[in-house]
């Protein structure tokens, strides 16, 4: 299961793994009830500390994004619609927030940022309009 790891990013590897799995689940790349690689195998594949992968799995299990079947492994949880929407929105918020901060740092006004976003969205005609994927 490929997750992009950037060792020199200011985001910790623990968070990069958490985000990678979360996005894979929310985008449908990982299906409900699909089995994940063991934390050991994922650590070897990504060449990162196995404790870090185990901790990320534990945290995602605590957040009910993953579940563990004793002796069988770790699986993608089945989400109710509302929880999934909430989580998708949260990820979008986080990522837009980064953009807004960058915009303010560059001394753009809220209107400037809105206009830029609208014009970019207009170019993206392939995005499904007005419906949640």
């Amino acid at each position: 299961m490929y997750i992009e790891i950037k060792p020199d990013s200011p985001i910790s590897i623990f968070e990069q793994i958490m985000d990678g799995i979360r996005v894979a689940v929310l985008s449908g790349r990982l299906k409900e009830d699909e089995k994940l690689p063991s934390w050991r195998d994922l650590a070897v594949e990504l060449r990162v500390n196995p404790n870090t992968v185990a901790k990320a799995y534990q945290e995602l299990e605590r957040q009910r994004i993953l579940y563990v079947k004793r002796g069988e492994g770790t699986f993608v949880a089945v989400w109710d619609f509302q929880a999934r929407e909430r989580e998708r929105k949260r990820l979008l918020h986080d990522s837009l927030m980064q953009t807004i901060l960058k915009g303010y740092q560059l001394k753009f006004t809220a209107d400037d940022i809105k206009k830029e976003l609208d014009s970019l969205l207009a170019q993206f005609s392939m995005l499904p309009e007005g419906e949640g994927a």
Binding site: D8, S12, A43, V44, R47, V48, N49, P50, N51
Partner: protein
Amino acid sequence: MTDFAIDIQQVSKRFGNTQAVKELDLAIPKGTVFGFLGENGAGKTTTIRMMVGLLKPDQGTVKLMGMDPLGNDISVKEKFGYVSEDRGMYRWMKVKEILWFNKGLYPNWDEQIAAQLLKDFDLDPDKKIKTLSRGMVAKVAILSALACRPEVLILDEPTSGLDPMVRREILEKMVAYCADYGTTVFFSSHLIDDIERLADTVGIICKGRLVIHDEKQKVRESLKRVLFRLGEKVASIPAHPGILSSTQKNGEWECILKTPEKEAFEFLKSLNPEHIEFSEMSLEDVFAEYTRFERGR
């Protein structure tokens, strides 16, 4: 039983006029991975040699799994696997002879691990060490260390000078071994990428002194970089206990603050900067700042 796999207390070592290691304290909990950062000559290898019993400290104590590496009880040697920087091996021996030689020395030698790694690493057992490439020698060294089934793995620059493919293979095997056996790992490196990937905790050594030892993320967050411009020309930023260093480039000041950075940041704001902002620091930046600061002391 102690909870620390490695426990170093107040260790010093001097070579002639050079203080190689000074009053070093370092305790590594069992089952964790410690990354030891330092430039060449900072004291990494000297520290490691004292840990494995190849050097006697002038002062202080070293305990490995609760035992003295210089003591009479040689069973301490079975506790750890060690790969030295030069990966010292008899160059006239064949790969299979080296393995046979190590098997005789280490009662815990695991034939299965050795055979598996020989295959995964694509090593020819009939080749002589002196005919092998640098990467192949590194693989034989790591194979030998892992097949001893050590409780503590001590690696001095395990991946430096290796091509990316060999480095990748060695990291994969280290990760797999740690996951399977819960080994404690102590590895030194100047490759920050490897430390970022593998370490739970990080220590930075400069001029023989350990300047910081903490969880990786905390080490990274221990310094903050602030960029600002001042309206009037000033020759230097007044000293403040929270400021590690300040430099000026093209009219822009760069200050490195120690965390918690609040007080020093308020102090900088009191200088009426025109524009002030934080900028991200990578582990490499943090390492460079500590090293630069210690060099200037």
